[in-house]
Symmetry: C2
Subunit: 553 residues, 2 copies
Amino acid sequence: MAAAAAARLLRLAPRRLQVPKASPIAALSFPLQRTAPLAAASGRRQRFCAAAHASTPAPAPAAAATGAAGEAVGEFRKRLRVADVKGGEDEGAAWVGKELAVRGWVRTCRAQRTVTFVEVNDGSCLSNMQCVLTPDTEGYDQIDSVTIGASVLVEGVVASSQGSKQKVELKVSKITVIGKSDPTSFPIQKKRASREFLRTVAHLRPRTNTFGAVARVRNALAYATHKFFQDNGFVWVSSPIITASDCEGAGEQFYVTTLLSNSAEGGSLLKDIPATKDGRVDWSQDFFCKPAFLTVSGQLNGETYASALSDIYTFGPTFRAENSNTARHLAEFWMIEPELAFADLNDDMACATAYLQYVVKYILENCKEDMDFFNTWVEKGIIDRLNDVVEKNFIHLSYTDAVELLLGSKKEFEFPVKWGLDLQSEHERYITEVALGGRPVIIRDYPKEIKAFYMRENDDGKTVAAMDLLVPRVGELIGGSQREERLDYLEARLDEQNLNKESYWWYLDLRRYGSVPHAGFGLGFERLVQFATGIDNIRDAIPFPRVPGSAEF
Amino acid sequence: MAAAAAARLLRLAPRRLQVPKASPIAALSFPLQRTAPLAAASGRRQRFCAAAHASTPAPAPAAAATGAAGEAVGEFRKRLRVADVKGGEDEGAAWVGKELAVRGWVRTCRAQRTVTFVEVNDGSCLSNMQCVLTPDTEGYDQIDSVTIGASVLVEGVVASSQGSKQKVELKVSKITVIGKSDPTSFPIQKKRASREFLRTVAHLRPRTNTFGAVARVRNALAYATHKFFQDNGFVWVSSPIITASDCEGAGEQFYVTTLLSNSAEGGSLLKDIPATKDGRVDWSQDFFCKPAFLTVSGQLNGETYASALSDIYTFGPTFRAENSNTARHLAEFWMIEPELAFADLNDDMACATAYLQYVVKYILENCKEDMDFFNTWVEKGIIDRLNDVVEKNFIHLSYTDAVELLLGSKKEFEFPVKWGLDLQSEHERYITEVALGGRPVIIRDYPKEIKAFYMRENDDGKTVAAMDLLVPRVGELIGGSQREERLDYLEARLDEQNLNKESYWWYLDLRRYGSVPHAGFGLGFERLVQFATGIDNIRDAIPFPRVPGSAEF
């Protein structure tokens, strides 16, 4: 019942605390809030976890104070986080001498002769707040419960730290254990756990340094993605997740159905599945009255909105029912798919390059501490590698020239190099890492036989305006193309690939009514996270990975 | 082949155009791009749709210019949009006298005696660019193809307009038809089409005023959502879409499976579905080796990350296999689910209120033209209604007080009012619209019997710390609660509701290891879009609605 006791405790009026002048606090207050309480209101509520701001006594419990006239909702303020204290250039020096309350989880507790050091992390940054306790500290009688994984509230005064690891620490006047954690059974012990093991405790792994950092950088990449496209006038469009059009080849698609759910106790009986007279699944009785799938790409839908709003992007989950148990495949992953109207392959390459440089620059500037961590512990040199991406010119090269370059290299490759065959990873790596000296490269204008039906045929009749963006060490990060906007060419391509024109009626309509040259690209978001963090296995780049045989949590 | 010809045309060097000083252009240039070309590069590419910026001659076709050394990728610039010209306070007056190129789709073409007016829309804003042609205009011989739905490039000089509808228009020196549109078969004619009909052409409906505006406001609401939470230190977390935990009651969940896909020509044969000896579906042979579903909520997963990073939010699709053919239900919809650690119900209410006020204020400030359109054509008075939300204090009221208020009203309701019964829409509307005079209201502390197992039990033992946020005319927009952080209480609740504790092992772990008081809420994004646009039917608030019997496009 430690948590229950603490919850009550937390509702007590927090200590009256001073905030340093010119501190980040002013900027943290949420600007929109009304401040005048209603006449009928008995008082205003403070968000209790922003204890450092509190200056009014806590109101009486809500149930007692309200009547049928109601009470005004309290003001929302940004929580004061460890990142707000230690994340600045001065690493917290401006806070020295100020009172502060920190809430978070115990990472370590080291008892020395006269003092005890407790490292508390609140997830806002990699840094812990080092908290210094003495036997005189209020709440010290609970010290046996201050164990790894426990949640605590620590209140005290910020002081300069004598340790080399941090500029400031908290001289604790009071510690409160909010939620205990049995140190023997807590799955994440101080000694380094393997990534494989941590996947089995995916609900707790964000409490480790690595996965906390991955979560923050992943968040920053997502937000930078929105910022880039919004700043450039793109409209975010939600492409559908469930789709009944079998446009992309159903082989790798998941079925979405309610036919299996009229299930008996102990599991769905086959005989309960609606069937036609000839023993086939009766799709007319399914939820959507026909087979439905999880989307593998929002592109075709995205093109419809680009053909009205000009520039759009999607950012949502996509799926592959591929039985690939590799470090690079997920059954569920997030994709970013911009689509640009009145644009050709050159525009597409320029946009992909600018996008990638923007998001990489964003995390280098905004996630410095986490990036330093990856640079030290996950991939040495990753910051240099990413700086190269931001600073170096991207090169583009036709597929035909790439094949010539490979043939001219005299290097022996495992897979054959021949015009018309797809490039393999070893070829791509040779081009980016050796031939072009560590520069990101876009290869474009691939043979049409190895590319999708919607890619625009070039004037040579043999190639299409496709592009793959390759980066050193990682390989393909982005794939895109100019789309075939000419109705007759597109219909011919559908025929060539034995695709059913009727099911593409709406996609073809875009070419019937005000067709425009347009282009776009797709980017697997988890690949971007891998690229930006150095994390080896894609299962560690998403909170809850879905792979063959596993959809846990 | 109009599109093909135009595509080539578009690649010609655009006319050299001047940009007015102190125009928005300077701010539009993308700041990150490298500008120094490589020594090996033969030239730099301009994004051709930003014709107004072009000042260098177009380079030779890419294929001819590159070699194995590659060529530098060109600079990406924001496209000059109609919104950039007409969207400012002066409605384009600063552009008078300047040359400009506009690309978009023809909305109307009106031939008068000496001049022809063509309204061109590029989707960046509601406003068209009125283009004025005379028989002397270059390309006037194509005027018969300048029909509704066709895509065009118009180049000319901005002039003051004598019309009352706009400040500026384009005196066209040259018009190019990019993609034709057969005016008789084009599904969206000028006369007002019904929303029902437009759903059957969901691929073209964003080209209407209403759906263009909905798409832009939806985009603004999404971006404002990210901005609000990011500015307040929340981390965006992707909760999983596919889930094998049956935590939420599988009755309303879609199955995700590959068992149906080993299908014969003509449809899946029942006999091909893997079965156990007793005639049940053999889930061990399914992709995830057990039944898997589409998520109905990311909350439980979100709580795991809040228990490590403190404040998080999800924003992703969720699903209900509910057979509800109403104007308020979708089978696939987007949800926003923030989760706040070290927070109670008061914090939760404060956050929900601040969030809602922020996003509403954001669209009122950033989507003025679209909001005026909704105010005039979709819901008269919507701007006042939304201003009320931004400006008025939100009231909170306990369920118990709400019941007393209803009982004291002497009003006859269709559904009974009695402590322990859920509130119906008529009750909620009476409270917000009549009793509290058009104010948003939060009702909290509901009887535990009518709420979910994870909501925190209040000290009275009868109610839980749940809240519903109600807004006038729309009803419930947000539902949330403080979560039960006490292990023994939570286990008792699971038992009471006959839920299987073993399948919640990881959720219970959060209460075993460093449990903290925490709270969160959920918001259906399409409901928010309805609320913010006045659109009646939720199927019109998402690009491609999924409902029983339909997953088209």
